[in-house]
């Protein structure tokens, strides 16, 4: 088993993922450069945060056409687990692997702080080790994280149980005050219909050790290591 961490020009969270995989989880891993054309040999793919291709035009709009993305899309269509955090989430939306889009925070300000998110569904490879309602304390760090989807898309997400995380208070209430960016329905993370692609704005890789303030982010990685979802 081997996990792949994608790097685009401007990606900056790849070393945080690598550190967690190497030193915390001790999982075999490797970097995948955006100009590569194959993800052969990898069992899960991670799209880290940053500013891929400078985020020019729109976040993720150029990265979506990087050579590696054809292989990522095929990998996802074959059922391989793909997790995108922050800029990775934006890229997955632009690539059409996830529904919706991420817009400028309603405050128009960059937000870098700890938030709480409520796990809405444990029916994904990334949350199967948790339980619905479980609150995670994980940091965000973004200027464009306001999730948006048109009404018909939102209805589909709700109907198919694809909303996986919502911003909430420490005790799990979904309120306007707990919403750091104006996201529609406090949505912090969604999955695809087949449930093997997850995007979220918070950074689980920065919350995987108690020393750094929280290890709640490990839920996602530990879930992926459970035998039920191990590929």
């Amino acid at each position: 088993m081997k996990w792949g961490v994608l790097i685009f020009p401007g990606t900056w969270s790849h070393q945080d993922f690598a550190h967690v995989f190497q030193d915390v989880l001790r999982v075999p891993w490797g970097y995948v450069w955006h100009k590569d054309s194959s993800v052969a040999g990898y069992d899960a793919l991670f799209l880290p945060g940053g500013f891929a291709h400078g985020d020019y035009l729109r976040c993720g709009a150029i990265a979506r056409f990087s050579p590696i993305m054809d292989a990522v899309i095929r990998f996802a269509q074959d059922g391989g687990p793909v997790l995108g955090s922050c800029n990775g989430f934006q890229i997955l939306c632009e690539a059409g692997l996830l529904s919706g889009a991420l817009l400028r925070n309603s405050s128009l300000q960059y937000r870098c702080r700890w938030v709480h998110i409520r796990t809405e569904s444990s029916d994904t490879p990334f949350t199967c080790g948790g339980r619905p309602g479980q609150v995670l304390r994980i940091p965000i760090s973004h200027g464009e994280g306001r999730y948006f989807a048109p009404p018909e898309t939102l209805a589909q997400l709700q109907e198919n149980d694809q909303i996986i995380f919502r911003y909430c208070t420490p005790d799990g209430r979904v309120t306007d005050e707990a919403n750091p960016n104006g996201a529609l329905e406090n949505i912090a993370g969604v999955c695809n219909k087949a449930r093997n692609v997850l995007g979220l704005m918070p950074h689980p890789e920065r919350a995987s050790e108690a020393l750094l303030g929280s290890k709640d982010g490990r839920l996602l990685f530990d879930s992926m290591l459970t035998p039920a979802f191990r590929r």
């Binding site: 128009l108 989807a149 898309t153 104006g182």
Partner: protein
């Protein structure tokens, strides 16, 4: 040669906090007649070729594929022939 002048704006259904901020700034400057303000992107793309219909089709495809995100944005463009 053709020059396409492309405007990309957030859809009406999408909140535009930048536009709202500018609208309230205009109002506080005394422009009471300002009812709404939306902020968008303006792009100028030059294309080689002689066939305006073909250029128009190409720009439309560029907008759909890359320059605008149909989930959140609308686009309009004009095409003019320009000296090479």
């Amino acid at each position: 040669m053709f020059e396409a002048r492309i405007h990309v704006t957030l859809k009406r259904s999408v909140l535009d906090p930048q536009g709202d901020t500018v609208r309230s700034a205009l109002t506080s400057l005394g422009f009471q007649e300002v009812a709404d303000c939306r902020i968008g992107k303006f792009m100028v793309v030059r294309l080689t070729g002689r066939d305006v219909d073909q250029a128009r089709a190409q720009v439309d495809e560029m907008c759909r594929k890359l320059l605008a995100n149909p989930v959140i944005e609308d686009y309009v463009f004009q095409i003019n022939e320009v000296p090479a």
